[in-house]
């Protein structure tokens, strides 16, 4: 038994960490947060060059051909620095949809471009407030043309290509949903960039009117495929959340060592010390759950759906917990725009909502444990 990454994998992670420490500074994140720039294009190009984007894409499609394990570790690093780039939408989602369900032609057309960072992909599912269930998908495709609205599409400001869940014709329920590739620069697409909780990654709402749509996978299996891809993406997002948790804890720890009150460092007050100890506990549990999920992802294990939901719930709780208490530890400074605490707080809460919110994943986890594809203990 070995529940750890290999030394080679850790060496690659380290390389990405060093690259990001230099290129994705707080100033770089703030440049995106405080401007209309959709994302940090130089950083994104750098990540493509370094092989981060193409890490888990086969060489035949322009990728590097590493495994999902490396991608998990890269995700952790991106989360640690709250990188203002659309990796999760373009790689964990769009590229994964193509890999899992794309035709050979679709893969050869799009994957090399996604891996090279030439274009940005995303996944458009949600149409309104509340938990997304099959009956809430109203967008529809007739004669290869998509009409409908998708809201809060992640990285929608930067995206060039979307995988869109829509009804084929008049199909009903989950079986009436199919997936389509839509060129967001093409005709019939209207994009409205949103003001969101986390402006380091800019979401958008899309209105489609007879936009050309290319069927991905078979008609009627959209809901099923989307579920599979979202499970996989949830694991990678959970690694981003673990990276973010660690960094928020580190910031709080450093501040607690430095800041003096009543003649002593605030870290010597138990109220602060114990709060940080609890952050450490959440972050550790989340990390361990993520390692289990990384194993399931890389081996395509039968437990993957349970492992994904476990990692997602645990990492969402952990990042929210660490980010909010990081602000608390910083006192008034924590509530200033100038300190980075709010950037982590924003990211933690935005990530908690993307791909299905915490309560959705909690419910999924229990359904899956009940389904019995993994031991309950």
């Amino acid at each position: 038994m070995n529940l750890d990454f290999s030394d080679d994998q850790k060496a690659l992670q380290d390389q990405v960490r060093r690259f990001l420490a230099e290129r994705c500074t707080s100033a770089a994140v703030r440049r995106i947060v405080e401007s209309d720039e959709t994302h940090d294009r130089d950083l994104y190009a750098g990540l493509a060059e370094l092989g981060v984007l193409g890490a888990a894409i086969p060489e035949a499609y322009g990728g590097v051909g590493l495994s999902k394990l490396e991608l998990c570790l890269f995700a952790e690093e991106l989360g640690r620095v709250i990188a203002p780039v659309p990796v999760s939408s373009s790689i964990y989602l769009a590229a994964e949809f193509l890999l899992l369900a794309g035709s050979e032609a679709q893969k050869t057309t799009w994957l090399p471009k996604l891996a090279a960072g030439e274009i940005v992909g995303t996944f458009a599912l949600t149409e309104g407030s509340g938990r997304t269930t099959p009956d809430k998908v109203k967008a529809s495709v007739r004669n290869g043309r998509l009409t409908g609205t998708k809201v809060a599409v992640p990285d929608g400001a930067a995206a060039d290509l979307a995988v869109v869940a829509a009804r084929h014709g008049t199909g009903e329920g989950a079986d009436g949903i199919s997936l389509y590739l839509v060129d967001l620069r093409g005709p019939g697409v209207e994009r409205t960039v949103l003001t969101t909780l986390d402006p380091s990654r800019k979401a958008a709402t899309f209105t489609f009117k007879d936009a050309p749509a290319d069927l991905l996978s078979g008609e009627g299996d959209g809901w099923h495929v989307a579920g599979q891809v979202m499970d996989r993406a949830a694991i990678l997002l959970a690694f981003e959340q673990v990276g973010g948790s660690d960094r928020a804890l580190e910031m709080a720890r450093d501040y607690a060592l430095d800041r003096m009150a009543f003649g002593r460092p605030i870290g010597s007050f138990q109220a602060i010390k114990h709060m940080l100890a609890d952050m450490y506990v959440s972050a550790t549990l989340a990390r361990s759950n993520c390692y289990y999920a990384a194993w399931a992802l890389s081996t395509d294990a039968a437990e993957l759906p349970v492992a994904a939901a476990t990692a997602r719930v645990s990492a969402t709780q952990s990042f929210q917990h660490c980010a909010k208490n990081n602000i608390q530890t910083h006192g008034g400074m924590g509530f200033t725009w100038a300190f980075d605490c709010h950037l982590y707080y924003r990211r933690s809460n935005a990530l908690a909502l993307s791909l299905g919110s915490l309560s959705t994943w909690e419910s999924l986890l229990i359904e899956r444990l009940r389904g019995g594809n993994a031991a309950v203990a």
Binding site: M1, N2, L3, D4, F5, S6, L69, L249, R253, A256, L257, R264, P265, G267, S268, Q270, I272, K273, H274, L276, A277, D278, Y280, V281, T284, L285, A286, S288, N289, Y291, Y292, A294, W295, S298, T299, A309, T310, V313, S314, Q317, S359, W361, E362, S363, L365, I366, L369, R370, V376, A377
Partner: protein, 419 residues
């Protein structure tokens, strides 16, 4: 990354499995499944005798204290083999309960500090379950603040070199059935508290030792008061130098945290099974979204602990020593057990108030409710564990201390405050 056994591990597992299949006391299996807390469920025979039988059988086959060296009654196996044995032993592992403190804490302390002839004399019967040991550390005035203990050891007036012990220990688990005890005492009150301590081991049947059971909040009597009146201990039973007791105790406490924290179950599978059966408005409780949310939170804590344990085993198998980060096991498990029990009873409604074997899962949740407060206190309270994580893992400064450099006898205490 994998959960597979290496070929050697698989061979070892097969060997263990075959042996357990042929030797485990299978007639006790059904009763063991009804185990509660500090109660192994055995009614058909003397529970302690059942534990001793299984322990002796393991010992004779070389499966007791797997990671101890063979010459001291252990198996001489690798840490990972110990883990595999535990997995295969399954429910029968609960028969090891009475030996836990001795084998988990006293044994390693003897191994590190006792004279060679003592190791050869005492470790094998400790491994075989023939002799049970207890840990005589806590006192009425010193639990978390262990170094504040007052039980005195003074050189005997007859010049024999023996030590004379006077004082009182409390919360001593299993003292009533122990042959030996690990005893920490104060030999010098004129120096700062951590410097004047000395460790001994003693025969619990020595004249002047009196064990009085304490009735616990949950009605059981697992722990005791132990009084020492002019108890004589030969100097040869001293562990470490005079004044080195604190250092010796750290060996014990480090092992305590490991053995208590590792592999602790929160009872989640039982709760989950219960939520499949229990009903809310005529539908399984597990369909209710509030129930799901609570269950999910416990599920990820349980699996987080499980995989944290596996990461620790991975580190161990790479030759790294487990550190203070392992404190999280008991910290998470104790609080979770308590919450989980309250939640399970909430679902039982007014009927949940009844204690007894007729309740779902033989009243497990009621027993768990009543035992879990102790888990949050014994072997380092939640607060002490948070201090350890804060200070030793995260590197935060210690509390402001008023007692570190003063002579022990000058430290203000409840009955002796400074004017």
């Amino acid at each position: 990354m994998d959960f597979e056994d290496s070929p050697e591990e698989a061979a070892f597992r097969a060997q263990v499995r075959a042996w357990i299949r042929d030797n485990a006391p299978r007639h006790l299996e059904a009763e063991l499944k009804t185990a509660g807390f500090a109660d192994n469920g055995i009614r058909s025979t003397d529970p302690l005798a059942a534990c001793r039988d299984w322990q002796r059988k393991k010992y004779e086959a070389g499966w007791a204290c797997l990671h101890w060296p063979k010459e001291y009654g252990g198996g001489g196996y690798q840490p990972i083999q110990r883990v595999i044995f535990g997995q295969e032993e399954g429910i029968y592992a609960s028969l090891s309960g009475p030996f836990g403190i001795g084998q988990g804490m006293c044994g390693p302390t003897l191994m590190a500090w006792a004279a060679e002839e003592h190791k050869q004399r005492y470790l094998p019967p400790l491994a075989s379950g023939e002799e049970i040991w207890c840990q005589l550390f806590s006192e009425p005035a010193s639990g978390s603040d262990l170094a504040g203990l007052r039980t005195r050891a003074e050189p005997a007036a007859d010049g024999s070199g023996d030590w004379i012990i006077n004082g009182q220990k409390i919360w001593t688990s299993g003292a009533h059935r122990s042959e030996f005890g690990l005893l920490i005492t104060r030999t010098d009150p004129s120096v700062p508290k951590h410097k004047g301590l000395t460790m001994f081991f003693l025969d619990m049947r020595s004249p002047g030792v009196e064990v009085r059971p304490i009735k616990q909040a949950n009605g059981q009597s697992e722990f005791n008061e132990v009084y020492f009146t002019d108890v004589r201990i030969p100097d040869s039973q001293r562990l470490g130098a005079v004044g080195q007791g604190w250092e010796v105790s750290l060996t014990t406490l480090m092992n305590e945290r490991l053995s208590i924290g590792s592999g602790m179950s929160l009872g989640f599978p039982e709760l989950f099974a219960f939520c499949m059966e229990a009903e809310i408005d005529g539908r399984p409780a597990v369909d209710d979204s509030a129930v799901r949310s609570r269950l999910a939170t416990y599920a990820v804590r349980q699996s987080g602990l499980k995989y944290t344990g596996m990461r620790a085993i991975t580190a161990l198998s790479k030759g790294q020593t487990p550190g203070p980060e392992n404190s999280i096991g008991k910290l998470v498990a104790g609080a979770a057990m308590q919450e989980l029990a309250m939640f399970a009873l909430d679902l039982q409604g007014a009927a949940g108030v009844e204690m007894g074997d007729d309740q779902p899962l033989q009243g497990r949740f009621q027993k768990m409710l009543m035992r879990s407060p102790a888990t949050r206190i014994e072997g380092g309270s939640d607060e002490i564990l948070r201090n350890i994580i804060g200070e030793r893992v995260l590197g935060l400064p210690g509390d402001v201390r008023v007692d570190k450099t003063v002579a022990f006898r000058d430290i203000p205490t409840s009955g002796r405050q400074k004017a």
